[in-house]
């Protein structure tokens, strides 16, 4: 696969980011290709999660933050004052490291965002089922939709969070180490799911697991100390990285 000549969904240009006095991102330029999975890798503190959180303006919640540069989504500046942040977060959904279902039933977890959007009852049931199916969870929960989501296993909870995220039909799904708390079987299911889901959504995943990046991403961006060091197809990054820092990191010889 060549470098992304596929239509980019997100274009990040000269992005700089500060937490108070500490600069966390330096002049990051990156295009995120549509219907592909892009993996962000790099050692802890390299800025990959910060970047991810810029993409749906999660960092707005932090008062001391400062940001410069542009992020456009389908050509629209997501940082423009007229942008409705709630609407943006619907279009750019997020799945976190630790699954965080609401203390409600399985059904209500998925229906939550849809209800806010004012979905009708019939439509609601349809959408919940479709989302659970896409998240590869339907068969496991269809007979207990009204049981508490907290009774599900960790892997199931994470797939439920994915179902909840995709229920509102986002364009982009951000995943911040979605498998770090899961066992290998549950991880394998999520990884399979990521590959299925990119038909419908653009996925950006932060991972510390190199094999996970190789298994489920099309493109990989390596960050170090807040800078984007190398960006290429996952194939190239893991067989023949151009940059020595990248190679040292992915082969476990960093520092």
């Amino acid at each position: 696969m060549d470098k992304p000549n596929i239509q980019p969904v997100l274009q990040i240009r000269r992005l700089n980011f500060w937490y108070g006095a500490k600069q966390a991102l330096f002049d990051v330029n990156l295009d995120i290709a549509a219907n592909c999975t892009t993996a962000l890798i790099g050692p802890s503190g390299c800025g990959k999660s910060t970047l991810l959180r810029c993409l749906n303006r999660m960092n707005d919640l932090n008062d001391a933050q400062r940001i410069e540069g542009t992020i456009t989504m389908h050509g629209m500046d997501i940082r423009a004052p007229e942008v409705d942040v709630i609407e943006l977060r619907k279009r750019v959904g997020m799945v976190f490291q630790k699954s965080n279902p609401f203390p409600k039933s399985i059904f209500e977890n998925v229906a939550y965002g849809l209800r806010i959007q004012g979905a009708k009852k019939n439509h609601l049931e349809e959408k919940v089922e479709a989302s659970l199916r896409r998240a590869a969870l339907w068969e496991e929960v269809k007979d207990r939709l009204h049981d508490s989501a907290l009774a599900l296993s960790g892997g199931q909870q994470q797939r439920l969070c994915i179902a909840r995220t995709i229920a509102v039909e986002p364009d982009v799904v951000l995943m911040d180490e979605p498998c770090s708390a899961l066992d290998p079987t549950a991880t394998a299911k999520i990884e399979e799911l990521i590959q299925d889901l990119k038909r419908y959504y653009t996925i950006i995943i932060v991972t510390h697991n190199m094999q996970q990046a190789t298994r489920c991403s099309d493109f990989t961006a390596f960050f170090y100390l807040g800078r984007l060091v190398e960006f290429d197809t996952t194939d190239n990054i893991f067989t023949n990285p151009a940059n020595k820092q990248t190679e040292d990191y992915i082969t476990g010889r960093f520092g």
Partner: protein
């Protein structure tokens, strides 16, 4: 900080080096047995081939274990996959050396056809190819590997020349057919050794430059 994994990779390289030095030695002894008409030495070369076969299996097992347990990436992945190919090529060179030794043994029972000139020359080039390609591997010198590839053409030329020369011997005197055929096959064994050394050279270039240069000799006849 040296990783355990680095030590395992160093051990893998050591085993390959051992295998290549044994291979080179087999080629040298096979040629010596031929030139000096030494049937005992020829027999020894043939017997030593077992050691190469065992090393090939051992190296492959090591590589498979490292692939499974270490999930290597980038240069590590290239090293391990190329180690498997290099061991295969070395083992085949060993087989060709055995072939030379067996034919040398047969020839030693016959009167000399002619003083050998071109075959030892081919043999020298081949041995240098093996030595250089392994230096290229150990000291990370892909440019040296590229030179090895160039030299294969000399080996091919000498082989063609020998085939022509030995054919004319057979035409002039049918009594030479058995011996000439044996020498032709020895030349062919050496030509194959050159090809395997070339393969290894290509593998070394891939290892260090991540560029696949196989099947790119468009300039060749």
């Amino acid at each position: 900080m040296e990783l355990h994994f680095d030590q395992e990779l160093a051990q893998l390289k050591e085993r390959l080096l051992l295998m290549s030095s044994l291979t080179e030695q087999s080629v040298a002894q096979a040629l010596k047995a031929l030139v000096q008409r030494d049937a005992a030495l020829a027999k020894k070369v043939d017997a030593d081939d077992d050691a190469l076969d065992r090393l090939q299996v051992e190296i492959d097992e090591r590589c498979i274990r490292l692939l499974a347990l270490r999930q290597p990436l980038a240069r590590d992945l290239r090293l391990i996959t190329m180690a498997m190919k290099i061991s295969t090529d070395l083992e085949r060179i060993g087989d060709q050396a055995s072939g030379i030794a067996r034919r040398a043994s047969e020839l030693s029972a016959e009167p000399e056809l002619k003083p050998l000139v071109d075959i030892p020359r081919m043999g020298e080039i081949c041995q240098r190819m093996i030595r250089d390609v392994l230096d290229a591997f150990v000291y990370a010198k892909p440019e040296l590997a590229r030179q090895v590839i160039q030299r294969d053409e000399d080996v091919d030329q000498l082989n063609k020349q020998l085939q022509r020369e030995l054919t004319s011997f057979m035409i002039e005197d049918p009594g030479t057919i058995t011996r000439a055929l044996l020498l032709m096959r020895i030349a062919r064994n050496l030509e194959r050794i050159g090809d395997h050394a070339t393969n290894i050279a290509e593998e070394v270039v891939y290892l260090y430059e991540a560029r696949d240069i196989r099947h790119q000799h468009a300039d060749r006849p």
